[in-house]
Symmetry: C2
Subunit: 235 residues, 2 copies
């Protein structure tokens, strides 16, 4: 679907709430210096001899055999082993979405964990914004649409306008305004939450729906995601 | 996207509210004996020497040059020229969606104009139901999702259950329950409504959002859509 909406310019926000983009924000917030998203497990393994690299691989909601890390954001909190390291990450949906959009315009990472700083940054940039929801194996999902709606809602309240073909944005915003007071309850029947519930990942679900735990805007440059806010300050 | 959801069995409901599936129901309700959906204008022209055939062709919301009929449902109401005729129809989105799904299971046509008889018929069949929203040039649109939500709402209230991967159905149902008391207002900002407004097709929009003007369930058999209810009675 991305091909239908792609834009050569502007900013693409990649969204994979359960859990890739939540994990990326959390890792950068908690000591990782950069995240290198790779599409395949094979590509991830190429970094296995590098002591400065933590490798993480997830498929189907579980850590891939032979790896220590997956895409659980909680595994990157209060973790002394990741301090100052590069995180190489491959996941079922999120890193594939990054891969699809990486050649077009600017690419940043969105999650409920960075909603406020992300939207503030987007408003400052004042460019066209496209929200790319990773979904689950190319299907639409509820939690990514919900987050897209949260971003749409903030941007519209700050002078942005809908694009011509923006029915998906209208729907997402309605989702968010309906669900925002109890997102956990709203997602009770969603496919992905139930998938994670079956994997005993309820804590992850709750964390991924918590607003503003991170003050980072992960931005892609040279194949690596670094915090755009930190880059701005160091300039 | 259809490839991701296709099912070999069960019933697929094709939805293109503005305006192909609304037009198909209306034509069958108002004197046409069958509708033959064709994907290309070239295929439609092959019927041009047949006196028993009315040909209709729409692209981009307008009647294609050289044709008298497009996909305006209103053109098929109180029209003596179409009585007892076969309607050959090609449209931008709707007939393409029919073409994509025609090999899988049973295929019927849904629109607000046949919501009650369609859902009653679906409940009687008691099979898996898939709602295929034609959208606009493969993009999601608001009105088709809204109708899908109306069907989901009726089916869930009558003992049907969500499939495992049914986030799209959950979202559609929320749309419908939010919008059902004033769908015209709800669609005010939608892309397609504005496209039709620009073409002076406001009457069509209003008609296409009116419930239960037709008592037909167009069902595909041998490349042609006929009223399944009539077929049942004649058995």
């Amino acid at each position: 679907m991305y091909e239908l909406y792609r834009q050569a310019n502007g900013i693409t926000v990649v969204v994979d709430i359960f859990r890739a983009t939540s994990a990326i924000c959390t890792a950068l917030q908690n000591g990782v210096t950069e995240v290198i998203p790779v599409a395949s497990i094979h590509d991830a393994k190429r970094y296995s001899d590098d002591d400065d690299v933590i490798i993480a691989a997830e498929r189907g909601g579980e850590i891939v055999d032979g790896f220590v890390y997956g895409n659980s954001p909680l595994s990157y909190i209060n973790n002394k082993h990741i301090q100052g390291k590069t995180l190489v990450l491959t996941t079922t949906n999120g890193t594939q979405a990054i891969d699809a959009a990486k050649e077009d315009g600017e690419l940043v990472i969105g999650a409920f964990s960075n909603l406020s700083v992300l939207t503030k940054w987007l408003i400052e940039q004042n460019q066209d914004v496209m929200l790319l929801c990773a979904g689950w194996k190319n299907r639409l999902n509820l939690e990514d649409s919900l987050f897209a709606g949260a971003v749409v809602d903030v941007l519209l309240n700050n002078g942005f306008e809908y694009d011509i073909d923006s029915d998906a944005a209208i729907i997402s915003r309605l989702l968010y305004t309906t669900a925002k007071n109890d997102m956990l309850k709203f997602l009770e029947n969603s496919s992905h939450r139930n998938r994670l519930k079956n994997l005993n990942l309820e804590n992850d679900v709750e964390y991924c729906l918590t607003l503003d735990t991170c003050n980072v805007v992960p931005k892609l440059a040279g194949g690596s995601l670094k915090n755009a806010l930190k880059v701005q300050i160091s300039n």
